[in-house]
């Protein structure tokens, strides 16, 4: 039952986006997010939507699947939109009911906010759809490495993520087994109110934690006997390297960001 949970949402493939270096994808996503906040005209939003659509098309991901990644947070998007609609200051009233009123400005602002959130999520989900968690970890380690000088433990973070990815399925299996064992002894995990249920989780969590600590210790000993001594002097089997497609992708996303910046401030600059 629990073992059916899949980790991450990697969708294997061999498209242009899949083949990009993970660092390229992470950085491009960040640049795109910055670009989202530069947009303030319908044209700019149109360009952003067009770019996202293009990337999804190039990545050959099923469109329905990408859209589904919005599902868990559509309620947040809706609330954001409604709050902006009702609270934005404005003159042109479109609709009133008792003390509530919707202004045209509010309507526009609400739509903008919702659009920003949707674009942000869609674009970053393309990153997780096209990059396996392991490769993503490598990318994060490499990107954080320059910050080691100021105390960012890049290697340790990456090693923690690697081990977490390795052990999540193992611990899920174990949770399942303990749950069955405790159910056989009369434990009840599925009825009662929230508080009772939380309390009933105790006979599950205690053995799970004990075993996780034991595993951690054994793993540490096994790692030591395999000559692990931290990130110092360590090499990697797969060294990441930028290829020409990475430069193409960087070019495209930087062009987008610069274009939007010009759209936003260019008119002002001309007026000067």
């Amino acid at each position: 039952m629990l073992s059916e949970i899949t980790l991450g949402q990697y969708f294997p493939g061999n498209s242009f986006v899949h083949r990009l270096d993970p660092r390229t994808k992470i950085l491009a996503t960040l640049i795109y997010i910055i670009a989202i906040f530069l947009a303030d005209t319908p044209l700019a939003y149109g360009i952003l939507i067009g770019f996202a659509a293009l990337v999804i098309a190039v990545s050959q991901l099923p469109v329905g699947m990408v859209l589904k990644s919005l599902k868990p947070i559509w309620i947040i998007i809706l609330i954001t939109m409604i709050i902006h609609m009702f609270t934005a200051p404005g003159e042109t009233v479109v609709f009133t009911w008792k003390i509530f009123k919707i202004t045209e400005e509010g309507l526009i602002l609400g739509t903008k906010m919702a659009l920003r959130l949707i674009l942000l999520l869609l674009f970053s989900s393309v990153l997780t759809f096209t990059t396996s968690p392991i490769v993503l970890t490598d990318g994060i380690e490499k990107l954080l490495r320059p910050f080691k000088a100021i105390g960012v433990p890049a290697h340790e973070l990456a090693m923690m993520m690697t081990i977490a990815l390795r052990f999540i399925p193992t611990l899920l299996e174990e949770t399942d087994r303990i749950m069955k064992a405790q159910t056989a002894r009369g434990a009840d995990f599925s009825s009662g109110n929230l508080l009772e249920r939380a309390k009933n989780m105790l006979p599950l969590l205690v053995p799970l934690f004990v075993s996780a600590f034991r595993r951690a210790e054994e793993l540490a000993i096994a790692m030591e006997s395999r000559c692990y001594r931290g990130g110092e002097g360590r090499t990697r089997m797969h060294e990441l390297a930028y290829k020409s497609i990475d430069y193409t992708a960087f070019g495209a996303v930087i062009f987008l960001a610069v274009g939007l910046a010009v759209l936003r401030w260019g008119a002002g600059l001309c007026a000067l």
Partner: protein
């Protein structure tokens, strides 16, 4: 290859009592030898194993590996590269979420150049017959396969010796067969020195030499034939000789003339049919 002289290991347990886990061990292991260590629970066999790659250090006495003393901290990583260790729980020694990444973990740690790692990984996986599983996720493998991946992870470090600490204790019979076969082939084909700790006597039959431990001492050692024909002594130490040896011993006691060195089912069958 490995030379242990007057090795003692004492530690203080939770109640503050001093425990003599190892109390004067002398043992020499030659290069290319296959040594099995047997003994009841608490006999000190795991403690002994952990001295072989400097996971534990002697309280008294010395343990040298390839001429390097394990007490010297500067030798530690060389020793760990020379002597690999496989543990009981197959789940808790695999680090990465993909088999080949895990096998690459050791060479990455000792700083093998990137382009040399892949051939090492491929060789190591081939040596344990897991080439087809290079891209698999370890949690989907069987116990025996996981242990073979763990052995491959050590082979990628190109060690001279592999110590296996009850590697089959958590495996099903199929997995046990796989591990014994793998270990035998590494010993015969690759010349790897094997120290195999087990409490399955039948697994110890494959060894060149069997060491019997009890309460931190080596009680006796010899070839499997020498050791397992001493059925009564083994029983006193809480160990059970292989079934064939026991049957042969009982038959001898009841007056049937049988050779003294019967330890396998085949030998027993042959002797009885003559």
């Amino acid at each position: 290859m490995i030379s242990i002289k007057g090795l003692k290991h004492y530690y203080t347990d939770a109640d503050g009592k001093e425990v003599k886990a190892l109390d004067g061990i002398d043992l020499d292991i030659k290069k290319g030898e296959f040594v099995a260590i047997i003994g009841a629970n608490g006999s000190g066999k795991s403690t002994l194993a952990r001295h072989l790659n400097a996971l534990l250090l002697p309280t008294e006495g010395t343990c040298t590996v390839g001429g390097l003393d394990t007490v010297e901290e500067a030798n530690m990583w060389d020793i760990r590269q020379q002597v690999g260790m496989v543990f009981q729980n197959p789940d808790n020694q695999i680090v990465a979420a993909i088999v080949e990444e895990d096998v690459a973990f050791g060479p990455e740690n000792i700083g093998v150049p990137s382009e040399e790692i892949r051939p090492r990984v491929e060789k190591a996986l081939a040596a344990v017959g897991m080439t087809d599983y290079a891209k698999h996720a370890p949690h989907l493998l069987s116990g025996g396969q996981k242990q073979r991946v763990a052995i491959a992870g050590l082979m990628a470090l190109e060690p001279d010796c592999i110590v296996l600490d009850e590697p089959t204790a958590m495996l099903d019979p199929q997995g046990r067969k796989e591990i014994v076969a793998t270990v035998k082939s590494l010993n015969k084909d690759k010349g790897i020195t094997i120290v195999y700790i087990t409490h399955y006597m039948t697994e110890a039959l494959a060894a060149d030499r069997v060491v019997v431990m009890e309460k931190g001492h080596i009680r006796f050692m010899g070839t499997p034939k020498e050791v397992f024909s001493r059925v009564d002594e083994l029983e006193k130490l809480g160990l059970e000789a292989p079934l064939a040896a026991k049957v042969a011993s009982e038959l001898r006691k009841s007056g049937i003339k049988l050779p003294k060195d019967i330890i396998t089912d085949e030998e027993l069958a042959q002797a009885l049919c003559q």
